[in-house]
Point group: C2
Chain length 289, copies 2
C-alpha cells in the first residue's frame, strides 16, 4: 500500500486507467474522483474505478488524500491547483499526468508543497472513461520530471507507482521533456491534423478510399482538439521551431520530385526508413525479454 | 477454376499474397513465379506459394499462363511487359498490382493484348514474401482501372477474382485513381518520411522516446524507398499539387500557434477530427455487416 487514499482530478482515459492500475496492483485503498460532469463520475463509480464522486468540487475530492493526481486537460492545471491547495492533507504527494511540463512544473511546485510531475506516454487518440484500462501503461514509458526543488522521496514513491503499473520510468528535466515531446509527439499531431484537412480541402468524400497507411498515419488526428489547442499554446516555441524543421524536410522532398532527382529521393526515404526501423527493433527486444 | 495457370511476376508481399489467395480459394491450379532472386523464389516454392521458379526469366514464367500478374516495383513494368509480350498464351488475361495507374495503364494496354490494371489497397509498410498472407486482402478495397479500350470480359474476370479474395471491388479511371491515391496514400508517405527525418535532424536518438502516436503516424516510413521513389516520379504533378495544399494547411496551423489564436486552432483540429472519424464509423459498419 503506497497511498491509502488517492484523489483523481479528471476521471478520463488516463485518470481512470491510473485508478484501475492503482487498485489492481493494491497500491491504494480508496479513490475519490473530481470532474466537471456528475454523469461521467457516476459512470466511473459504477465501473468500480472510483469510490466517491465530487462533481465540481476538487477540494472535496482531495480532502484526506495521500496522493492527488491532476488528470484534466493541462489548461486547467494551475487553476485547480490553487483552488485546492488549502485542502491538501499534510505530507501528501501531488502529481499530474499532463503531456506538457516545462514552465508548468515550476508553477505547480510553487503552488503545491510536494509536487512532482509525471507524463505516462500512453493513451493515444482514445479519450474518455469508456476506454480506461490498467493495461494501457504496460510496457509504456513514464517520464518523471524532477527539478532541483523536487522532493526526492515523493519522486521515488511515484517512480515505484509507475513501475508497479508496468511502465519504464525515466527522469527528465521539465524543459528537455517539452522539447523532446514537441518533436516526437506534438509535431506529429499537427501534421496529422493538417494531412486530414488536406483531404477535406480536395474532397472530404475521398477519405473513404484510404487504406491502412492513411488510417495509421492520421489516427492521432482523432485526438481531443481542446487538449491539443492547449499543448500548442504551452509548447509554442518548440513547436514553431520543429514545424520549421519539418517544412525544410518536406520541401527537400518536394524539390527532388520537382527536379526529377530519383536518387536523392531514394536516399531521403532510406534514411527515414532506417531511423524509424529502430523503434521496431526496440519492440522486438522488449518482447524477447 | 478461373485461370488454370497463373504467372506471378515479382513474388513479394503482394504477389505472394495473391498467389496464396488464388490457391486457397481454388481459383487457379498452377502458379509460376518470376523474380530477380533465385533464393527468394525457392523460398516461395518451399512455402507452397508457387510451383515453379523462373529467376530472371519472365517469359518462361508467363509461358502457358492464363493469367499474368505484374507485381514487381512499378518502375520495371513496361520493360517486363515488352520482354514477354511474344510469350503470352492466346486469350490469356494480363494485370498488375501497382499503386500507380494513369499513363502506365495506357502504356501497358498498348503492349499487352488483354490487360486491365488492378490496385489492391493492401500490404502497407510490410515487404517481402515472409509477410505474404491471403488474409491481407480480406475487407480491403481493390481498384480496377477500366478504360474505353479495356476488355470487358477480362475486367469482369478480375473483379470476380478480387471479390473471391475478399476485396471490395471498385472500378475507376486510371487518372482519377492516381489523383485520389496521391491524396490519400502517396502524400501521407512523403509526410511520414519527412517527419522521421525531422527527428533525425534534431537528434535521431530521441526517437526512442516516441509513443504509439508517433509509431502509428510514421509506420509507413518503413515502406520501400525504391517503390516510393518510383511513385514520386510517376505521380509527380498530383504530388506537387497536394504537397502545396498540405503546406498551406500546416502553415495555417503554424500561424495560429505563432499568433496565439487558440479558438482558430481548435476549430482546425476539430474539422480534421470529424473528417478522420468517418473512417472509424465505416469500420464499425463493416464489422456490423
Amino acid at each position: 500500500m503506497l497511498f491509502r487514499k488517492t484523489a483523481i482530478l479528471g476521471v478520463g482515459l488516463l485518470g481512470g486507467s491510473l485508478a484501475l492500475a492503482l487498485r489492481k496492483k493494491g497500491l491504494t485503498e480508496e479513490i475519490s474522483g473530481f470532474g466537471r460532469s456528475a454523469e461521467n463520475l457516476e459512470k466511473a463509480k459504477a465501473r468500480g474505478i472510483i469510490d466517491s464522486c465530487h462533481p465540481n468540487d476538487p477540494a472535496g475530492a482531495a480532502a484526506g488524500a495521500d496522493l492527488v493526481v491532476l488528470a484534466t486537460p493541462v489548461g486547467a492545471f494551475t487553476q485547480i491547483a490553487k483552488a485546492i491547495k488549502n485542502s491538501l492533507k499534510e505530507g501528501s504527494v501531488q502529481t499530474d499526468l499532463g503531456s506538457l511540463k516545462g514552465r508548468l512544473v515550476y508553477d505547480l511546485q510553487e503552488i503545491w508543497p510536494r509536487y512532482v510531475g509525471c507524463h505516462p506516454i500512453a493513451g493515444g487518440e482514445r479519450a474518455g472513461i469508456g476506454a480506461a484500462s490498467e493495461r494501457i501503461f504496460e510496457g509504456s514509458r513514464c517520464i518523471i520530471t524532477k527539478t532541483g526543488k523536487s522532493d526526492a522521496e515523493a519522486a521515488d514513491m511515484l517512480a515505484g507507482l509507475w513501475s508497479a503499473a508496468g511502465c519504464r520510468v525515466e527522469f527528465m528535466d521539465p524543459f528537455v521533456h517539452d522539447e523532446v515531446y514537441a518533436l516526437v509527439s506534438h509535431l506529429p499531431h499537427l501534421v496529422a491534423y493538417a494531412l486530414v484537412n488536406t483531404v477535406g480541402d480536395a474532397n472530404g468524400d475521398l477519405i473513404e478510399f484510404a487504406g491502412n497507411g492513411f488510417k495509421d498515419s492520421t489516427r492521432i488526428a482523432m485526438s481531443s482538439p481542446e487538449l491539443w489547442r492547449d499543448v500548442c499554446q504551452l509548447n509554442r516555441d518548440n513547436l514553431l521551431r520543429f514545424i520549421g524543421s519539418f517544412k525544410k524536410n518536406l520541401e527537400r522532398i518536394e524539390a527532388f520530385i520537382g527536379n526529377r532527382q530519383p536518387g536523392e529521393l531514394e536516399r531521403e526515404f532510406d534514411s527515414a526508413r532506417r531511423l524509424r526501423s529502430r523503434l521496431e527493433n526496440e519492440n522486438e527486444n522488449e518482447s524477447n525479454r
